[in-house]
């Protein structure tokens, strides 16, 4: 691997997940692109030996801080209503099979009803693939809290999923 190839690999691997993460934090696709571009530009200035062993954590932390800065600077409280955001997330993938799309959209909508902190932890875990400890360092929550947020979030999502399934049976 050449000296710079690792950054290219990082770009390939994390570009998409980071954009989705940043979009959730900033509520805006365009600002998310700014933030993620910035994150990778900053990565170019890092020493490989210092960053690579904890690459995901580094990327998510820098991305999160930048997104929060943007949000603060613009004094945007909550930009996009979560339903719209969920819908936008589903639409961003036009090539997905039409049948799966509806179900997916529903799961995203259910997710968007969870408290923000739970959503963030779930995303960092299942999209970013971060460990509890990494999530803890990215978000500043204690490891115990991360475990709690993730568990409560997963449990809540499961309950909502069941509710929907029951409703579905009643309807049909």
């Amino acid at each position: 691997m050449t000296d710079r190839q690792w950054i290219r690999d990082a770009l390939d691997r994390y570009e998409g997940p980071l954009l989705l993460y940043a979009r959730r934090l900033t509520g805006d696709a365009e600002r998310a692109r700014d933030v993620v571009q910035d994150t990778f530009l900053k990565l170019c200035h890092q020493r490989r030996a210092a960053v690579q062993p904890r690459l995901a954590e580094w990327l998510y932390t820098v991305c999160r801080n930048a997104a929060i800065d943007v949000r603060r600077k613009e004094r945007v409280m909550k930009v996009v209503h979560s339903e719209e955001q969920a819908a936008a997330g589903a639409e961003a993938n036009p090539e997905s099979a039409a049948a799966g799309k509806e179900q997916r959209r529903r799961l995203l909508v259910l997710l968007s009803h969870l408290p923000d902190k739970q959503q963030e932890v779930l995303r960092l875990k299942f999209q970013g693939g971060l460990s509890y400890k990494e999530i803890s360092r990215v978000t500043g929550e204690s490891v115990g809290n991360v475990g709690m947020l993730l568990h409560v979030g997963l449990k809540g999502l499961r309950a909502r999923l069941q509710d929907r399934e029951i409703e579905g049976q009643v309807m049909s």
Binding site: L11, F40, M77, V79, G89, Q127, L154, L161
Partner: protein, 643 residues
């Protein structure tokens, strides 16, 4: 059933799935799963949910950086050193091509710049030059173009971000010190959000203001001498959201003063009539609200009116309420226009208050605004210094917040805190009636100032503790005895309540905070620690016109009360606290949700004079529906929100 009931709240069940457990804990969970089919089913469902979610995220469609952005990163990867030299040259190019650059900025330079050489040059320079300015310039252009297309919640309301108070280990930190707070604005602001069909942002929720919105009447005096202007009450019972934890209730009930027995007042209304106030829920509501107040006044009282907008000005010199018709007419004549100069208005209002000062009277500036101080003294630091200077003159301050979309919650709260005052948010005429008629004594008549509380926990009785709310009212421990340090004011008839969640020593508790100390273990307990005292409660206050504080102190013991033995006061305030924590997305609630809050509040609602507790129940039901994703149209249809 023979199986142990497994605990669905145990976060280790998820941690097990994520392979995050240490070997011994993993064994425990595996044993549980072997022995308890219910636990097995539960974990399998968690697994299914996790798998779905992972698939879901994977299929969310990976957006990419657009071509030009990706190219910018690629170029940087290609060689950071060369890039810098290149940038110096390109920056000069951009200066020459100023018009074109601006065009790119306006259109969003990163995504839509053409692939031609100019586009690239602009991009590179953009990063190498002072980036922030350009970005903000482009933002202005972008947002003005975008604003017509989508109307989302892009308002400019401002809330200071606060994290909930964390758990503290008694061994390491036995002291808790804070200033009391009688503000209620956060609660009425929450009500306004719900009526708009959305939940308030977590940072707009101040738990103590929710709790203190309600009166907690009839506390049995435990520690009060005849001279104190309030009664201090404590109670301990189990915590509804964590039954093995204890909930400590500290209640301060200020003496009622008959409105007719009050001292004469010298009021100055400082009213924001800037353009931003020109909305039905602002200036007209403000006028009607203050009308209610003026109608409570009589010939003993004086009112002056100062407005501020582009220029601040005197609308009505200090006038006796013998001529209340004159005061009312001046109120009716107000109209909105111009931008805001809060600073100059504050100066003028305080000058009038000093000139008409009534010794031993109620001297107060009442500031009514949506919080926009955007001309004149604008930065928060100078505003605060201005207010702090005026506070020494003995003039108190009340801040009434109005309106939506532009509310500067943090600024207004800070002003009220620093200016010996209180902060209420008026979302409706009903709230105006509460603040300015039925609880006018609390709003206008101070009975004590600089009220501070310090609690020392007994490490042999309390393992860890957490103060619920009052996050931005924390004081340094040494300031408790320092009479020069400002704290909270309390008005006639006010109730102030503080709740602590405590962990008894025999309950397993994993502190999320710092490691155990290496050189000390729980300090060394004094003899007093081996009594049944749970904690030692100290309170300091000053008379409204006094300079030296008086100390009240009392040990508190735990009578071992169970939840159903607790008073309505404790239970209702716990329900309100839990509701606020839900809105704050608190991790401390375990499975305690809206339904439990409703149940609790319903059981503990008591007499409910004024119907505020019944309204609370309606609001929680509404919040629950909003949280479940019902739209404002559905909520209107069901009659939860007025049309």
């Amino acid at each position: 059933m023979n199986e142990r009931n497994f605990d669905a709240n145990d976060p280790r069940l998820s941690a097990y799935l994520m392979d995050e457990l240490a070997a011994d804990e993993r064994e425990q969970i595996e044993r549980l799963l072997r022995e308890d089919p219910n636990a097995r089913d539960f974990v399998e469902e968690l697994k299914r949910t996790a798998d779905l979610l992972e698939a879901e995220f994977g299929a969310e469609g990976e957006p990419g950086l657009s071509g030009s952005r990706r190219a910018a990163v690629e170029r940087r990867i290609g060689g950071a050193r060369r890039g810098r030299l290149f940038a110096v040259a390109s920056a000069a190019l951009v200066l020459l091509a100023g018009g074109a650059t601006l065009f790119f900025l306006g259109r969003g330079p990163f995504s839509r710049a053409p692939a031609g050489i100019e586009g690239r040059v602009t991009l590179m320079a953009h990063y190498e030059a002072e980036r922030a300015d350009l970005v903000s310039a482009s933002r202005v252009l972008q947002s003005s173009a975008a604003s017509e297309e989508h109307i989302t919640y892009r308002d400019t309301e401002q809330y200071a971000h606060t994290e909930e108070n964390p758990w503290k280990s008694t061994g390491q930190e036995p002291l808790s010190t804070f200033a009391i707070d009688v503000d209620t604005a956060s609660y009425s602001n929450m009500r306004r959000f719900l009526r708009e069909g959305r939940l308030p942002p977590a940072s707009a929720v101040r738990i103590e203001e929710f709790i203190n919105y309600f009166r907690y009447d009839d506390p049995a005096p435990e520690s009060a001498s005849g001279d104190d202007p309030f009664r201090l009450t404590t109670e301990v019972a189990s915590a509804p959201w964590a039954p093995r934890h204890r909930l400590l209730w500290i209640g301060i009930q200020a003496r009622e003063i008959e409105w007719n027995a009050r001292r004469p007042s010298n009021l100055v209304f400082l009213l924001d009539v800037s353009g931003s106030m020109n909305a039905p829920d602002k200036l007209p509501l403000l006028q009607r609200s203050l009308r209610l107040l003026v109608e409570q006044l009589d010939p003993r009282d004086r009112v002056a009116i100062v407005v501020y907008a582009g220029a601040s000005g005197l609308v009505l010199p200090s006038t006796s309420c013998e001529q209340s018709a004159e005061v009312l007419a001046a109120l009716d004549r107000l109209s909105a226009g111009g931008s805001t100069n809060g600073g100059a208005g504050i100066d003028l209002a305080y000058r009038l208050a000093r000139e008409n000062f009534i010794d031993e009277g109620l001297n107060r500036v009442i500031l009514a605004t949506d919080g926009d101080f955007n001309v004149g003294v604008t930065d928060q630091g100078s505003l605060v210094r201005l207010i702090e200077k005026q506070r020494e003159s003995g003039v108190f301050l009340s801040v009434l917040g109005f309106g939506t979309g532009n509310l500067k919650d943090a600024t207004m709260e800070l002003l009220a805190d620093k200016g010996n005052g209180n902060f209420a948010y008026i979302d409706s005429l009903a709230e105006a009636r509460k603040v300015l008629v039925s609880e006018l004594g609390g709003t206008l008549i101070p009975v004590a100032k600089d009220v501070k509380i310090q609690v020392e926990f007994n490490p042999t009785r309390v393992q860890a503790w957490r103060l619920i709310g009052y996050e931005n009212r924390q004081l340094a421990h040494q300031d408790f005895n320092d009479d020069s340090k400002d704290a909270g004011e309390i008005g006639a008839g006010h109730s102030v309540t503080a709740l602590y969640e405590l962990v008894p020593p025999d309950v397993p508790f994993e502190s999320a905070g710092t490691d155990a100390l290496r050189y000390q273990q729980d300090g060394r307990p004094s003899d007093q620690a081996f009594t049944d005292e749970l904690l030692f409660l100290k309170l300091r206050y000053k008379q409204p016109d006094g300079d030296t504080s008086r100390l009240i102190s009392t040990p508190v013991r735990d009578q071992g009360r169970l939840w159903h033995e607790a008073s309505d006061n404790l239970r209702f305030s716990a329900a309100v606290a839990a509701y606020a924590m839900l809105l704050k997305e608190s991790p401390h609630l375990n499975d305690f949700g809206y339904e439990q809050v409703i149940q609790l509040a319903y059981e503990a609602r008591g007499q409910d004079p004024g119907g505020y507790r019944a309204e609370f129940l309606r609001l929680v039901r509404l919040a629950k529906r909003i949280a479940a994703g019902e739209t404002i149209e559905e909520l209107r249809e069901l009659g939860y929100i007025g049309k």
